[in-house]
């Protein structure tokens, strides 16, 4: 991230003012596209250079394509792919007479793709304005201009006492403010052994210590609400149904590291998350739980929400920090770590939604109670979610260590209509693909890693026998290539080349593919390029013939 651009942002706008990304998105909402005058206007308002703003406008999905009065966004996430093999996209395209990314000449309709809307429990999903329709009839309803809001799943807990699938009650914060110093809270979190839930499973307390120790007048807590992993709708569930829990978690983190400001970056694919969070924040303010005395007399803490604008890589923490300052959501090399230099160049603690939602329990009940949630496995509990192929799709809170088979067969009830589970992709598009034969693998960090998979975000996207594995490879690599932020060379070019290799039906040179995967894996700057080979390697290992390797 450019230090100078960060300095300009800090100099010209105060926290809470709309970012350049948000202003550009506003222009798209108002006029259907970003034109040069919008760029100039946003540059003038934000103090950013015009060229920089132009660069921002060409980066994000929401800003790049022209929008019609009726804007149709079709979900091309993995759950929707598993549901239709992509047919819903073709049907919409044919029905509207528009290619993806196109707007009708009269400006009345536009069609674009989006990954993913988080309605994976009833794919395929289509968004029209702020209405998300989903299910087998969604396309038909959208084409007849009668979309209707799809139902949200109800989260369930397999635990005796839910940790995450509950509304926050702020008891953790109350206890901490009364009983613990910030250092004691950091120690408690360290004792609890909380690992980041965004995919990297990094020990939370290490970040807390680093951020707390970084010398600065101001520090930030940033919540990564950019749950871009296709097939996952866990953070969505938390933001929309347990927003107080998240706010409480942020307040606790702020208390521990000495922050006064919290920022949640919410992806624009979740139109209901921001209002839910803002309403919860307002309620908390009314009760004095946020605001000037949130963390004790005269110790303020408050939270603002910033919109994303359509970019998978923004889920990576350095790209996230760029996005929430209104810049291009490009990955930066570390060091410096966000704990040293994040928002406005100041020490910043970045956690994903679920991670922060773990903190109130620890604060209220202590580290030991937390560790006892998943005996013998990773501490705490985990939210998992299942796609529409399963009989009982939805979000479930589980203890770590449950086998994938139990999850798929007992919790989610196996595939619907008696279909056979061919494979399941765990943890998002960068997660490995577990063939049916390995379903007995325990759902936890190490056992999954041993079979080329990961916990990741906790999504389980099941594929039935209808899904062709070459098609799946094409789907995943197409996503990977499209979402590459374009910074590091292996990812920027390599994912496009990998995608090209699995186009058509021609045989794929296995050695060349593997050489390319190695370059991606070992060469990429972030987990996007580094992680995309994992599911492809799964396919090579378990479905070589279907992949058409030679």
């Amino acid at each position: 991230m450019s230090r100078n651009l960060t300095a300009l942002v800090a100099r010209h706008s105060s926290l809470g003012e709309p970012t350049a990304v948000e202003l550009l998105a506003q222009a798209v909402r108002e006029r259907g596209a970003v034109v040069a005058d919008d760029v100039r206007d946003v540059a003038a308002r934000t103090g950013l250079p015009e060229a920089t703003v132009h660069g921002i406008a060409t980066f994000y999905d929401d800003l790049r394509e022209p929008r019609g009065a009726l804007d149709v966004r079709v979900c091309t996430g993995t759950a929707c792919f598993a549901a239709t093999g992509g047919r819903h996209v073709a049907e919409l395209s044919d029905g509207l007479g528009l290619a993806l990314g196109e707007r009708s000449e009269d400006g009345s309709v536009s069609l674009g793709e989006t990954v993913c809307l988080g309605f994976c429990h009833c794919s395929p999903a289509v968004r029209v304005g702020d209405v998300v329709d989903a299910g087998p009839q969604a396309v038909a309803r959208v084409l007849s201009r009668e979309p209707r809001q799809a139902a949200e799943p109800q989260a369930q807990s397999l635990l005796a006492e839910p940790v995450l699938t509950r509304a926050g009650d702020w008891s953790g914060l109350r206890r901490v403010l009364a009983e613990l110093t910030p250092d004691q809270l950091v120690e408690e979190v360290a004792q609890a052994g909380v690992l980041g839930r965004g995919g990297a499973a990094f020990p939370a307390a290490v970040k807390w210590r680093l951020t707390r120790q970084a010398p600065a007048a101001e520090r930030f807590v940033v919540c990564n609400g950019d749950e871009g992993d296709a097939g996952s709708y866990i953070d969505k569930q938390l933001m929309e149904h347990s927003p107080e829990l998240l706010l409480e978690g942020m307040a606790l983190a702020a208390y521990a590291i000495g922050a006064r400001h919290g920022v949640v970056l919410v992806r624009s694919e979740y139109p209901r998350s921001r209002p839910a969070l803002e309403e919860a924040a307002e309620r908390a303010r009314e009760r004095g739980l946020l605001g000037p005395d949130a963390l004790g007399d005269g110790i303020p803490f408050d939270v603002i929400v910033v919109d994303g604008a359509g970019s998978y890589v923004v889920g990576e923490e350095t790209a996230l920090l760029a996005c929430l300052q209104g810049l291009r959501g490009v990955v930066s090399s570390r060091p410096p770590y966000p704990a040293q230099s994040g928002v406005r160049g100041l020490p910043t603690l970045v956690h994903n939604v679920e991670t922060l939602c773990n903190i109130p329990f620890i604060a209220a009940r202590g580290a030991q109670a937390y560790r006892e949630l998943s005996p013998g496995a990773t501490p705490g509990s985990k939210l998992v979610c299942f796609n529409e192929r399963f009989a009982r799709p939805g979000v479930f809170e589980i203890p770590f260590g449950t086998s994938v088979r139990e999850l798929c067969e007992d919790v989610a009830g196996g595939l619907r209509d008696g279909a056979r589970l061919k494979a399941v992709q765990i943890g998002g598009p960068l997660g490995g693909i577990l063939p049916a034969s390995l379903l007995d693998t325990p759902f936890d960090l190490e056992p999954l890693a041993a079979v080329g998979c990961m916990v990741g975000h906790g999504s389980l996207v099941g594929f039935d026998e209808e899904t062709g594995m070459r098609d799946l490879a094409r789907h995943l690599l197409g996503f990977g290539a499209q979402e590459s932020c374009g910074k590091c060379f292996p990812c920027r070019v390599g994912l496009t080349r990998a995608h090209e290799m699995v186009q058509g039906d021609a045989a794929v040179d296995r050695a060349r593919l593997e050489e390319l995967l190695e370059a991606l894996e070992l060469g990429s700057l972030c987990a996007h390029g580094g992680g995309m080979p994992a599911p492809i390697r799964s396919l090579i290992a378990h479905f070589p013939d279907e992949l058409g390797l030679a």
Binding site: E50, H54, T58, R328, E483, G486, R492, L522
Partner: protein, 216 residues
């Protein structure tokens, strides 16, 4: 701090990067997105080296040295990946880079021959309206050097990265060319460009492409 580069000990100051240690030791790793005038960027991944005790090669330009580190510039995986990356980069250009360019030199140094992966290439797009600066978008490899030198050295902020993924490229101003941007014609972008995506018009002529041809 003392580190080892290919077995040879070298003293480096606190905060030095692996690349600085490599150079201090008189060893070499090629680079593409690195320019000593700029903050390390870590985009090209051509400067990968092996570090004892680490399972993956690391980008030497952005990784700080730790005391006692043992750096291997000849790490086979690192060299393999660096070569693959340069091949990938060459594969995005519609024509091979001119012999004098840094990219061509790095390709020679890494012994890159036939390209293993080919496919779509960048579309030809030129802006030759500036009296000194030529912009040839199809030669851009998104190393970010031009954008960064305009930001970190000149402070004109006339250039930006555009798009993302394979479409990532650069633009001057609101994609209106140098003349209609905040460009102050300092030429730093042309100086740092490793591919002639931005170069001096007069040097294009020297390379055999006349301005007229370039403009056509």
């Amino acid at each position: 701090m003392r580190v080892e580069v290919d077995g040879a000990p070298v003293e480096v100051p606190e905060g030095a990067t692996l690349l600085e240690a490599v150079r201090a030791a008189g060893a070499r790793v090629p680079t593409l997105c690195f320019d000593e005038r700029l903050a390390p960027f870590g985009a090209c991944r051509v400067c990968l080296v092996g570090v004892e005790g680490q399972d993956k090669p690391v980008a030497s330009c952005t990784t700080p040295c730790r005391d006692g580190m043992r750096i291997d510039t000849r790490d086979p995986a690192a060299r393999r990946v660096a070569g693959a990356v340069v091949e990938l980069v060459l594969s995005e250009l519609p024509e091979p880079p001119a012999a004098h360019t840094e990219l061509a030199a790095v390709a020679r140094e890494l012994g890159v021959g036939e390209l293993r992966w080919t496919g779509r290439v960048h579309e030809k797009r030129h802006d030759m309206r500036h009296p000194y600066l030529a912009l040839q978008n199809e030669l851009c490899i998104s190393c970010g050097r031009c954008v960064r030198i305009c930001d970190e050295v000149q402070g004109a902020f006339a250039l930006t990265a555009t798009g993302r993924g394979f479409e990532a490229n650069i633009a001057a101003g609101i994609d209106a060319g140098f003349r209609d941007s905040t460009c102050v014609s300092c030429g730093a972008c042309a100086d740092t460009c490793p591919t002639d995506a931005i170069t001096e018009l007069s040097l294009l002529a020297l390379a055999g492409t006349t301005t007229e041809e370039a403009q056509a």
